[in-house]
Structure formats: C-alpha cells, structure tokens
Amino acid sequence: MYNRNSNNPISKEHAKYISKIKRNRLMVRFSQIAILLAFIALWELAARLNLIDAFITSQPSRIISTIKSLYQEGVLLMHVSITIYETIIGFVLGTMLGTVVAIILWWSEFAAKVADPYLVVLNSLPKVALGPIIIVWIGAGPFAIITMALLVSLIVTIITVLNGFMEVNPDKIKLLQTFGANKTQILKKVVLPASIPTIISAVKINVGMSWVGVIVGEFLVSKAGLGHLIVYGGQVFKLDLVMTSVFILSIAAALMYQFVAWLEKKFLKWQR
C-alpha cells in the first residue's frame, strides 16, 4: 500500500516478495502454454505414427490446411462472421430486452408477483425444445437462429437483473426518498447504477448462452455459419472440418468473453 504513493526505495524484503510473485505468475503462464503445446504436439505425433486414426480424430496439420483451403475458397470469413453476427445480435438483444422487462417488473411489484411462476417455468424449460416451433413460425433463416439465441438468454437475464435490482440496499433508496426523489429518479440514480455489476455478469452469462443458442440454431436450420459446418462435416464424415470449426469457435468465444471482461473493467473503474 504505502509503496504505491511514496518515493521510498523498495526494501530488500519487498523486492524479494515482488520477484517471488512475478516468478510464480510466469510459471503459471508457462505451464498453461506448455500443456497446450504438448497436447498439440502429441496429437500430431500420434496421428503421424498411426497410433490414432486421423480420419476420425483429425490432426493439427490437417486443421491448419483446412483453414487455409476454407480461406482460399473465400468462405472462412463468411461462416465465422455469420455466426459471430448472430451471437452478438442475440446476446445484445437478450441483455437489453431482459433488462427492460426486469425494469418493468421492478416498477410494478404486482406484475412481478404475477410473472413469478411463469418465469420459473420458462427458466427451467430447455429453450432448445422450442427450436421446431421457431422454425415453423419464423422460417429457417438467420432470424430464427437469432430468436433461438435471444430465447436462451432472455429469461435468465430477467431473473438475474431483477434479483440485482431487489438487492439494492433499501437504505440507499430511503436516502433518495429523504431528498424527495420519485420512482424514476430512484431507478436512474441508484437502482440502475448499483446494478451495473449484476447486469455485466448477466452479459457474461449471456455471451455463453448465446453461443449455445446460435450453434443449436445453426444445427437445426442454417446453410451457413460454424454450426452448419460442424453438422455438415459430421454428416459427410469430414472430421477435419468439424475439428476446424470447433477450434475456430473456441477462439471466437474466448475473444468475445475477453471483450466483455474488458467492458466490465472499463465500466466498473470505481470498483477496485
């Protein structure tokens, strides 16, 4: 603590402590990378030595050449961007609509009580089961997939955000009331800002949820996207294509999660 603000030279013990922490951090990162590299190397080696059948397990070098050929055909970016696009729309819509519904339910205690059993049932229902209904109603296309992603994240957002609203310290609301605040002011000045951490954690959950919704949606209806590639690859027994798609998918999902984490840091700068 004190070293942060003072110009005192760091003591020997403290320097030792810092270097120990740093070394530990480095070791963790090194081990993480080592595991990944070892896994890839073993996979490749096992495939080359015919210890495993690369036809059904694929192998790293084949994945790379699949990525190359997809890229040369000019379809790689198309598939990736369609899936990412559907996911982003799905989770942004899910988060926004969910927050709006949560605000309505916060506003009217009566509405919240009425809605409660419906929310419980809808929350426990696996939304994937609604897939065929969505296709019939909306038609097989990107819109159906976005609806799928939206449905998967909507209910859980409503419940999480509403809980966040309810947990705002009642004394903070009382404080505003002593200043004569009305309900809109209470919402804007304390309930929403105090719930931003909850909303962001809902966003984090929704990113994952939307990936599930989009991939399932693409399994069911699509003619493009990573989910489509996975299903297609499975049907024609091109495991290289399946593995490649899963690999790209995991990178895209991780990047999107990192983006949300970055947003969180940016918005919650007061939370140290």
Partner: protein
Amino acid sequence: MNNKVVVNLENVSMKYHSLEGETPAINNISFKVNEGEFIGIVGPSGCGKTTILSLIAGLIKPTTGQVLVYGKKVQGPSTSVGYMLQQDHLFEWRNIMQNALLGLEIRGKVNEDSKRKVERLLETYGLGEFKKHYPDQLSGGMRQRAALIRTLAIDPKILLLDEPFSALDYQTRLVMSDEVSTIIRKEGKTALLVTHDISEAISMADRVIVLSERPATIKNIHEIQLTSEDNNPISRRQAPEFRQYFNAIWKELDVHV
C-alpha cells in the same frame, strides 16, 4: 436562543401493519423543538426512535395525531428537512463531489452557484482535495463528513440524525460527534439526534428526550445544563453534572439484558 417552534409533534401515534398483525411503534408522543435547538432522543433499541425521524422527514404518515414543521402539516419530504442515516451510503460509483451533489440533483437545483457552495462546504470541512476521490478511498470519518455535507448541500433548516456515528469505531466516533455538533451549531441548524448512546446524547444535545420501550412514549425530557468551558461534546463530557444526567437517564431506560 429564540423560542420559535420549528418542529411540533401533537399526540402522534404510529402503527405498522403486517399479515401477522399490527405493531404499535410509538404511542401518543408530543414535543416541540425550538429553532436552533439540538435535541437528543434516547431509548431502548427497537423502541421506535427511527419512526419519529421518519415522521418528521415525511417518509411515513402518522396513524393518529399530527406532525408540524414550521407550522405546516408534513405531507412528504420537504426541502427544509435533511436526514442523515446510520451508514454514510455514499454511492461507490460517484466521486465525493458527485455524491455531495446528489440531493441538489434530485431537486433539480444543480447550477454553478450551488456547485460552488458545495465545493466551499467540502473545502471548509477538510474534503477539498478529495473532491475527485471515490468513497472507498476515504476513511470512515471522512465518509461520514462527506455524508453530512451531502445533507447540508440542500441547505435544510432542520437536521435529522439517525445514529449517524454507530458505524464508526469509538475514537472516530468521539471526534466525529465533536465535528458534527460544531458544524451544526456553526451553520445554525436545528437538529434531532437519535442514538442509543446516552453519553453521546448528553454531550451533544440541549435537551434529551427519553423514550420507553415499544410502543414508545415519552418518559422524561431533560434540560441539559453543563458547566463546561466549551460547548463542544468532548469538553462537555468533562463537566461535573455529566454523570448525574447519565445516571438519571440510565435509570429511566431501565435496561435489562
């Protein structure tokens, strides 16, 4: 001291309702507060002290009787009353300046003038260089001071203090009660302090109202007259009469554990 009555409770009773039944919180309470007076209210815990403040603040309406502030019946929160809660409740996402401006913001009165006034208050009471700091960078005492400035910013004539020091450690508490009472007297405010700490009440107040157990009625009202050199709480605690008041009130509270 003039004798203009600013707060007047007339036969006020209050009952809370729940499915399990009704709970009488306070029963037939009447007292008057003069302008510039500092009133301490002590009573056993859970006896309805906070209810009295909530009634004066206009957060709740009495079941029977009436509450008058400046001669007018209280209908809702008013600009002449400021309320200070047990915890500082500074908003973590606002810096100290933004926190201090909260009340003015709610009332739509933020302008260059009022901002300058709040800045001056922060500077006067030692928070000038912490304007841009966030609450978690401040000590407990500083946070409580910031909360007081947030209340003073709306320029209330009457201050309601609901155990404002109970979240602080003992030393900070003594210093803060000293500071707060100095600030309140300097700014010429009328104040009602609810506390369970008898010494705190005697050391700060001109009159101490002793309440009974729930449903609270007034047991006694003590005029506090201390022969201390200064009027600040810490030197008032040294006055020879201090202990007599303490013992009298202690007996009246009749605490059993």
